[in-house]
Symmetry: C2
């Protein structure tokens, strides 16, 4: 029923998670590895099940075994459970096979009562510490074991603090604490028939049973149901001796790392305090000493610590982050775990360890959290700097920026031209804001999710962005925003941390990115493993070149509409939309044709020898016109000043068109191939521009230099695709005939409508390739508008309905399943069909594991995510999520 | 190569559609059935294929066979091809196995030239008729056979008409027509090297080859691809003698029915003219005589006609609509087909024919177009009345109405209270308009589709509605609308035909519905065949009772939000939404609870012994608040009059909330179970109202009287359902315990999100029933917002992309496939799970055939569609679409 550990050996092993729980197995493993952990024992999960079978009573013999186990601990720790002079205190912790955080609290310092407390004071000479531990123990015991409302204790504590006129718990004197201990005992007396049990053995058996019972508390049941953990596993109970670093000058406590967690350098790194408890190091009351000094103060302990942690690093084959306590000259390791590190350190450590033959290249691949790489490609906030966080939003696009606040794109341009760094703050951005976003150092929006316009565009631009910071109330009309009572006006300085989503008041220091030689080496290794190709989403030659530098192998999505939004072009787009005769429309198209042809030339040139997928016009036309209320305001102003009637008439015409084009649900409206079908001249113009550019570039290059792939968006029915394909083929053949150049081109479709997945076999017979648009597929498949999801998706994540934002990581069971089905149907109908993905999920590691699993050929993501995707693609081959080192 | 027919026998049969085409086979069948059709012959489809194999030349021997065939016709018709004195004229028509309308024109009067025309004039004594036929023949020949632009002829004709100062073709004199013949021949001379061929044999072989060639014209190829008709079938060519009813007083022409097509009475019905051509009867130049008079004028012919048509009716077992010509005392049947009839007649004829043992009950079932039944349940426009159609929209809800135009719901109420019938005209309706829609006689909107708010609500109310009449430009601010240059102001009278979608200027006479004894008998038969149960969508006790009268077997969808919109309740809903503390919210909920409890009591009472499915709150909360621009306008007005600051503040608060709640894509926003999850108190209140009402009604009734089924909307993930189910169960058990009444209840979900279909197995394990919400499933599955689809869906139908509006008839290959998958997954996981459908498709016959096919248990539709659904459900068992008699 019980497994002992301590004194260099344990009865259990690290593999016995079923029987000892995660915690018990871990303690056994550490002990067996020669790590000096405080002695203790684990009561098995089987006992928990017996407890339930036995009508919620401990099975026969458990108490006897427990007494023997405590004896074992007493011998190893040189203290006695319940001994008033030299008391052994223990912690009691639950631990199931699978971690269930928050299911039950830990009980520390069990074994304390008025007598043992006195003994401990004598032993440690620290009356305050002991009294504080004592009152905490009573409180925990009352709440966790006896089920008394926490509030009962908190209110007593609050009263005492008020009486003592102190704010912090730490300011309470020993006399105050004595009163509190008395109060707390009174609470228990009143609320629980037996009162506070002073006998340590009673304390122990009650605590143990409480842990067993907690297995079936409603919180735990719900947690298990949500996480699909079987309910018959039961929990183990680990009982472990408490140790004290504050029993004198031969005692102490500290923390450390086996390598530098900031830069990855191979050096023993840490700090400690003598005659102190662990929390003193963290609390900053006393300044800790660098660990090198321990070598002088306690050379033997130091040597032992270095030996142990070095051994641990070798054994665990990773940097160790450890906590230790020295009790009367004896070293105890309280905790050791794989150390958190910066991205820079992670890369260096991984590459070093491969060279030290400590880990294989595969292991190095598995170990890195791919999204960490983002830190290396963007500015970040100097971790040393103090920041005042005003609000938190979604970390929509990585990077860091400080600058002056502006509220309109035009103001952004003006201030940026004056040489200022600006932060563009908007309720939400829209395509009209592009010119402001381009010059801004960072973007902050009050609404919208991880795939809102601001987020997507900012990521594409590699620009820091925080989206959906709901606490911020933006008043664009007054050029200010509020957070609570704080008002930030135009030109005030704020900073954004795009890694954390934190909005910071005032300026902060930022650190620029630098790509180390280790980074380059590491990425090369990744490329050796991965099967998935990595393309990029890029709309300009500049983005395309940047992406190639980051390792992109082609363009998976070039959004032609982003070209339409450019300042000098928008008037022609508007002319196209407003045209009421073919002549005007043709003249606008002719202008746009010239612009697009030049764009495509630049992109083909940047992508020589690589495939370039270009999507025909996708967004609804009203996105290119001013907003309704803007035109209305303009009109009102014009009328009140009795302006030129012709001007008024023109505005009225625009307003009428805006009204005509307005939609209830634009996401499901007149866009994508629906535009190309109702206005075929747009598709004709775009294909003409693509193929003309392709011919012009190909002429001077060797065969295969230009590989255009024309992509029709929002296809739901094969006949939609056919309609557009016929237009595209006709134009393409005509252009090539005239130019007398042959450019092999493909015509495929975005698969982003559920119906397209269901009928993928029919579409595959006609299409050269599929590119999954998982953004829209998620919106339609889940019935969730990404721009509106903020109102409930947060709550959904809290409730565990969608544990992760489905717009960030693909929803495997739902959307993923539809993608898998479409791939299968498509391949069955046309075995060789090219299949990739160009939605935002193309840059998300977990999604990439999935896309690898279902056999896609490539993923496409924004330039800055290309390294992330390359690594994730390598990890996918090495086992994906499960293969990743936690 | 050629199959002859005429003189009472034919070489082909009605089954030989492959070889003779649809038309040729039909002519053979009629001839063999003893129907005197003008003699002729059919050149087979095989010849067409030989023609293509033979480099576009007629195969050897065809000309000889043709000459023999013509000889056969000459003998039977007593005229000679090309004979200047007694010329035989023929028609030449294409005819493939499958009808391909518009693929090629018919050529009539072939064999005319200057000589034969003169002979025909002599024979008929009708110079004008012959000249008009001649110029038409030249024009057709020129266009169809020689490929000359139709415009060439039209412009000549227009010139002549201008010169003669006449508007109508019929006003041209023989002299004018002679000029035109000359002109047309000149056109052909100029455009075609050989000029107009005067030799009838040449005319015939050229016409034949032109028909063969037309098989591969681009129009035909496109048509075949869109309709999936194989391209190697080829077309047949039917050549048939022309007959003339205007050769003297022993000649004539007429049309008739074997039964009265208006009321179904068994009587010989029709009219005719002596010495006239068919078009004269239609043109109304002379008043035709009732067919009974033919009995006196030509008793033998009359008897033959009655005999033939009676035989035809028996043979075809349906009412015949026939055209005949008498040439020199000899009767020829030009056409006979199953007659179109009113719904009333269709029912009477079907029931009579069953009693006459002419058809079986099954046949009677198959024969009726279910949607015709709608005509019997609603007012319709008197077919005798003359109407001036101003515009056409979607026939969104059947019925007919005349009334005074109003532009706001409040005006509708005011004018209706003054005793006027009103037509509510809106750009589009929204839930705020309900009180106006309730009092209106009809509803007309300029925007929105078949499942727009106006359409759905009007159908539910059984009220005439025309939606999406895009030609109408509504100016609600000016209280007028325009169609072209016509302006209709408030209080002007218009009429709506909800069967045709026609908007009519002025008042028209309408005919009220009446349910005949035949109708009741017919519907009883339908119930004997159907397997699907038919429920209704009803939100009030009144609707529920009406639906039961129409045969509903339960409620499939009760939309609780429709109760929220009632005038006296809306303030409490708004209080709920605006509440910033729990007390206010609870007080609003308490009020709503009382209203809802009474609603549900009434509904349960109306549905005793039948299941009642009640959906928890579905629409986004902003639907319950005023529109943004309305509040803004109010605020502006208040500010300009320096109103009470408190009032202004309140409005500002509302505006802020409206702004908070506004969404980019409300269809995919914060609605359905997402509301119940973020605001669980709403679900709690609704379930409490449902179960309290159920207990109160059950108390006084026998077991099984009340069968509530609680339905959670918009579930995409099983965890969403679980969350709401737990709330519902807790409340339900609590209420029943308190009331001490047991009411068996079910908790199920609407399946309307694609993800729910994909994961239907998981959801089925938790849900008692599935009810498919195919409206939203279509919106999400196709990525089409029904309210915005008007902008492209019309074009899509024209192009054949979606041959039918997928919001009217379910898209089988896409949305249907997803439903089928969900049913299979759901049943596999939980074999007994109850599965129905409550989307608008539940009242559409074609969709019902599909739902029967995939094994649903019931469909649910608006009360007025219940009879339609009952019949369609019977037809589904009898073979569905294919089983239906065309």
């Amino acid at each position: 029923m019980i497994y002992l550990f301590g004194g260099g050996k344990a009865e259990g092993t690290g593999e016995m998670r079923d029987l000892l729980g995660g915690k018990g197995a871990g303690l056994a493993e550490m002990t067996n590895a020669g790590v000096p952990v405080p002695a203790g024992f684990t009561i098995t999960t089987e006992v928990c099940n017996l407890f339930y079978d036995n009508d919620m009573k401990a099975p026969k013999g458990l108490d006897v075994e427990t007494r023997n186990a405590i004896k074992h601990v007493e011998e190893l720790m040189g203290a006695k459970f319940g001994d008033p002079d030299n008391p052994l205190l223990v912690s009691v912790r639950s631990g199931a096979k699978f971690s269930m955080p928050g299911m039950m609290d830990t009980i520390l310092n069990l074994g304390l009562n008025d007598e043992t407390a006195k003994g401990l004071m004598k032993k440690t000479g620290n009356e305050r510490m002991v009294l504080d531990s004592y009152r905490r123990f009573i409180q925990m015991f009352g709440a966790v074991v006896l089920g008394i409302e926490r509030e009962e204790f908190e209110s007593r504590l609050a009263k005492r603090k008020a009486k003592a006129r102190v704010q912090q718990d730490t300011s309470l004197t020993p006399a105050d604490l004595k009163e509190i201990v008395r109060d707390f005992k009174a609470v228990i007396r009143r609320k629980s028939p037996g009162g506070f049990p002073t006998d340590p053995w009673t304390q122990l058996s009650m605590a143990r049973d409480a842990v067993f019972k907690s297995w079936n508390n409603p919180r735990a049941i719900t947690y298990r149901r949500m996480n699909e953990i079987p309910s018959d596993l039961g929990t183990a109970v680990s009982v472990q001796a408490m140790v004290f670093g504050n029993t004198g000058n031969k005692s102490g406590t500290g923390v450390g790392f086996t390598r530098n967690p900031a830069n990855g350098a191979k050096e023993f790194y840490g700090e400690y305090l003598t005659n102190a408890q662990g929390e003193d190091v963290v609390a900053g009351v006393r300044t800790p000493k660098p660990i090198s000094q321990l070598k002088k103060e306690m050379p033997a302990v130091y040597k032992q610590l270095v030996d142990i942690t070095t051994k641990l690093e070798k054994y665990r084959r990773d940097v160790q982050d450890f906590e230790f306590t020295i009790q009367d000259g004896e070293l105890f390791m309280l905790q050791t775990r794989n150390g958190k590190r910066t991205a820079q350190a992670a890369i260096k450590i991984a590459v070093d360890m491969v060279k030290e033959k400590l880990i294989s290249k595969e292991e190095a691949m598995r170990r890195l959290e791919p999204s960490q790489l983002d830190q290396l490609l963007h500015d970040r906030i100097d971790p040393e700097s103090k920041v005042k966080v005003m609000a938190k939003g979604l970390a929509a696009s990585p990077g860091a920026a400080s600058g002056r606040v502006v509220f309109t794109a035009d103001d952004a341009v003006m201030l940026a031209q004056a040489g200022e760094k600006v932060i563009l703050v908007r309720e939400e951005t829209n395509p009209d804001d592009i010119h402001g976003m381009e010059v801004a150092a960072g973007i902050l929006t009050a609404r919208g999710g991880m795939t809102s316009h601001a987020a997507v565009v900012a990521r594409g631009m590699g620009k820091c962005c925080i989206a959906g910071a709901e606490a911020i109330k933006v008043r664009e009309d007054r050029k200010q925003f509020k957070v609570g009572s704080t008002v930030i006006k135009e030109r005030d300085i704020i900073s954004l941390d795009g890694f954390s989503g934190e909005v910071i008041e005032g300026a902060v220091k930022t650190i620029p990115p630098s790509l180390s030689s280790e980074f380059r080496e590491f990425m090369k290794w990744a490329d050796q493993y991965r099967r998935l190709k990595v393309r990029t989403n890029a709309d300009t030659p500049g983005d395309a070149s940047l992406a190639v530098e980051f390792g992109a192998e082609g363009i998976g999505l070039c959004r032609t509409e982003h070209m339409f939004f450019a300042r000098e072009r928008l008037p022609f787009v508007q002319q196209l939309i407003m045209a009421d005769n073919i002549v005007e429309r043709e003249s606008a198209l002719q202008k746009l044709f010239k612009y697009q042809r030049e764009d495509f030339k630049g992109i083909f040139q940047a992508m020589l020898g690589k495939p370039v997928t270009i999507r025909t016009l996708d967004p609804p036309l009203h996105e290119f016109l001013p907003k309704r209320h803007e035109v209305e305001a303009e009109l009102a102003a014009l009328r009140s000043t009795s302006a030129d009637p012709e001007l008024i008439e023109e505005k009225e015409k625009i307003l009428a068109r805006v009204h005509d084009l307005s939609e209830f649900n634009p996401m499901l409206g007149h866009r994508g191939c629906r535009l190309g079908i109702t206005l075929p001249e747009i598709t004709q113009m775009q294909v003409k521009a693509i193929i003309t550019a392709a011919c012009d570039v190909q002429k001077n290059e060797k065969k295969g230099a230009v590989q255009p792939e024309i992509m029709i968006p929002l296809v739901g029915h094969v006949k939609e695709f056919l309609h557009q394909k016929e237009i595209a083929q006709t134009i393409a053949e005509e252009v090539m005939r005239k130019k007398k150049v042959e450019v092999p081109y493909l015509i495929g479709t975005m698969i982003e409508v559920p119906r397209a997945c269901i009928t993928a076999d029919e579409i595959a017979l006609e299409a050269d390739f599929f590119s999954f648009g998982t953004n829209d597929l998620t919106q339609m498949g889940l019935g969730v508008s990404r721009d509106d999801a903020g109102k409930f998706l947060g709550r959904y994540q809290e409730l565990g309905i969608y544990p992760e934002d489905p717009f960030v990581s693909i929803d495997r069971a739902g959307v993923g399943e539809v993608v898998r089905m479409a791939v299968e149907k498509g391949r069955k109908a046309k075995p060789g069909i090219k299949v990739g993905i160009c939605g935002e999920h193309g840059g998300d590691p977990k999604s990439i594991y999935f896309f690898n699993e279902i056999g896609l050929e490539y993923v496409s993501c924004s330039p800055y995510r290309v390294p992330v995707a390359r690594l994730a693609a390598a990890q996918a081959v090495l086992g994906g999520e499960e293969g990743r080192t936690k």
